[in-house]
Symmetry: C2
Subunit: 458 residues, 2 copies
């Protein structure tokens, strides 16, 4: 077989790193379930007419054909590039069998044929939560979804997260209060603040959108407002613009910000950032972007918001609110930089030594007695000298080696880190709780209790 | 949007059914980890030259191209149709960073563009365990992998499983003992016993392979041997054929059978079935097929065996042994037939009632006190009359409704199945353990403790 090279944009993890990714997925899922979100998975393909909307993303869609399908080999199917499009289709397809408001989380891969760069992959895993209702969605779900995602992120060992909030009603109400007839033209121009200078945006607002210099200035003043508490309301009020939609937006944004404050601390900050818009047509209320502190170069690692029409079958519309968190986008760079790692590449807490091939069944019985009590255990692959079996455990980071007693002697177990070896009964002995499973090492993985048990596989 | 129809061959599950699938995946993973198997995931695509081997499967491969990639839009990538091809590539790619023998499990989707039928899907999930070593793999891993898969399946609520074992050395040794120069021609003919009559196979062995009538008879006698214990050894011996490879094969098959006996009982049976061959070129020792009792029409729901060259980089070969279990193949038909189901479509054990929108934060605080102790809890979406909020819980199968006390009154909790309502403290009350999470209902899901809590979403 030819030499094998990795495929750019399709990250794969070694076992210890994969343990970290799985832990984070499990922790997110646990918080989502504590809040009553049900898990679903959707197929990875969708009909092309549902995926391709004529936007920028279209050219990144991977389309499927059969290898030897003859002339008519098109399947009409493409791989999903997010979890929102398939979720919308799932809701429509199963509307009669779901209870609304429907609360779901979904943790799956998605695919985009974009140019790979740090944190941007062609195959990536993301975690989405959404609440979708029929025809009307209560505002309190916007608070809830942001607060649940905040709580979920805090429960992981990921670096501190910063959630930035805005509200589309606030922006639109402000522009309307200024008497601007086409708020989306302003939004489009202001959205370029990321890529260009304030002066250039100001000029565009005046020259292209046709605002007065004073109005353009006010739009930029609005976009400059950031606050970690509800003081942003006063900042906006000071700009002297009035509109009922602006009032609603301010009230909603303050409520969502307030709902996330319970999670704030060393691990999580939240702020109103009135520049956040997240595209132009999609969202209709709360908008959210999530940044990982110290890793701002990755850009946002999550985002979402309120949308009034996730899906529609003509007679019923399904408004929703959801936030997506990029697991690959955040975790893979942290693993690559060694910020996070797994304490060992195997689940085994114990290696049972094998004296000789004839007595492998004796070792197996000891292992079974440990396993029945939930202790992950493997047997030495070869009946080598005990020193070599200990090194076998060491290379895998397995903290304990078990020696079955020969000729009526009791079993013994050795902590290969301290070298301490004691008599032990396989029906009673347990490793200390922190040694039972691999652990996530680094960042906020409770590093005070960390004892690395050996070499890792990375 | 157009009316949405399901896509044939791409099964999707409603939340209660998805809970069943996830439970089974978690239970399998738990057993694999208890035996020291580490989890990995591989990307879903492989270079086409690695996937397409000129066999039957080639025309079922899904190939990726970019939607708007221009003339040169081929990616050279296809979606994997099993987890063995990507695992072999992963081992080669990471050989320098893995410890051998390398024990891994992998639970992922795979794709085949075949004609959908019951249990056969175009997108399906499977669970694989393999042990791979460098250059030489100890035989005891063949016992281990079969025994671990047996133990893992018994720990799920799936119907009883029947594992059928054979050994390629046994078959080849027997044929060589008869003086047959081309054992694979005989194997190819005998392999057709599934599809044709014994008489037709006998004729083919004589006419096409060129065996004597007596030898052909003996080959068929061998293929007819089945036994649930090591008595098959005597049955083979009685055929009077001798060969050292046959001796090895008999010894190995007896040892693998013996290793699986610990799991036998009402939930699992194992037998030697000397007709099992599993293809022609790939396997070199133990071969395994798994059938689900009562669902033999699904054909095998799992299989695998020993292969001497999973992968090779020219200088090093990587022999291994592995078994794959079809999660979609077994679980989806059971869900469709209603044999298995989830007890409720939401994780929530408690619905906290909301008296009015103003006091939602009071309800939220009660919910948080329950959640912090691991009790999945959601809030009523609307402050309707309590009777309607109770029906909201009922429709979701949520067993308990929590009523925050108003004006200094204590909180109360109602078991909506019995109607019993008691005073309760959100810092202390817990639901009975079986109500904490949804449960798998049916088959061997410990149905004695089953109390269905309400309607499901299927």
């Amino acid at each position: 077989m030819p030499k094998v090279a990795p495929l750019s944009g399709f990250p794969e993890l070694l076992p210890a790193d994969r343990y970290v990714e799985r832990s984070i997925i499990d922790q997110l899922a646990r918080t989502f379930e504590l809040h009553g979100f049900a898990n679903i998975e959707t197929r990875v393909v969708e009909p092309l007419d549902r995926l391709a909307k004529g936007g920028e993303i279209d050219k990144e869609i991977y389309v499927l054909r059969r290898l030897q399908g003859g002339e008519d080999d098109g399947t009409g199917l493409g791989m999903h590039y997010d979890l929102t499009v398939p979720f919308a289709r799932y809701v429509l397809e199963n509307a009669g069998r779901l209870e609304f408001p429907f609360r779901r989380y979904q943790i799956q891969k998605a695919w985009r044929g974009e140019r790979p760069q740090e944190g941007r992959f062609r195959e990536f895993t993301q975690a989405d939560i959404d609440v979708v209702d029929k025809n009307e969605l209560s505002f309190h779900h916007e608070i809830e979804v942001a607060a649940v995602m905040a709580e979920a992120l805090v429960a992981t060992p990921l670096p501190p997260m910063n959630m930035q909030l805005n509200n589309r009603k606030l922006i639109e109400g402000f522009y309307r209060g200024l008497g601007i007839p086409d708020p989306s033209a302003v939004m489009r121009a202001v959205d370029k603040l990321d890529k260009t200078s304030i002066g250039a945006v100001e000029e565009a607002l005046v020259q292209e959108v046709g605002l007065s210099a004073a109005d353009a200035r006010k739009c930029l003043d609005l976009a400059a407002i950031r606050a970690a508490d509800v003081s942003f309301v006063d900042d906006v009020r000071r700009l002297g613009v009035e509109h009922p939609l602006l009032d609603t937006g301010l009230e909603e944004l303050a409520a969502v910000l307030d709902g996330c404050l319970a999670s704030t601390g060393r691990r999580f900050t939240v702020e109103a950032n009135l520049r956040i818009a997240r595209g132009l047509d999609y969202y209709t209320g709360t908008v959210v972007e999530i940044f990982m502190s110290g890793y701002e170069s990755l850009k946002s690692v999550g985002g979402g918001g309120r949308y009034d029409a996730l899906a529609s079958d003509g007679s019923t519309t399904y408004p929703g609110v959801g936030i997506s968190f990029g697991i690959s986008r955040s975790v893979v760079p942290l693993l690559a930089r060694g910020v996070l790692s797994g304490s060992r590449p195997v689940p085994s807490a114990v290696l049972v030594a094998v004296a000789d091939e004839k007595s492998r069944s004796v070792s197996r019985r000891a292992a079974d007695r440990l396993r029945v009590r939930g202790i992950p255990t493997e047997l030495a692959a070869r009946p080598q000298k005990y020193g070599r079996q200990i090194r076998y455990a060491e290379r895998r980071g397995i903290p304990f080696v078990w020696f079955p007693g020969a000729g009526g002697a009791p079993d013994e177990v050795k902590d290969i880190r301290s070298g301490e070896q004691v008599v032990a009964d396989a029906d009673e002995w347990s490793p200390p709780a922190p040694d039972l499973a691999p652990r996530v090492v680094g960042e906020d993985a409770d590093s005070s209790t960390d004892r690395r048990t050996g070499k890792e596989d990375r």
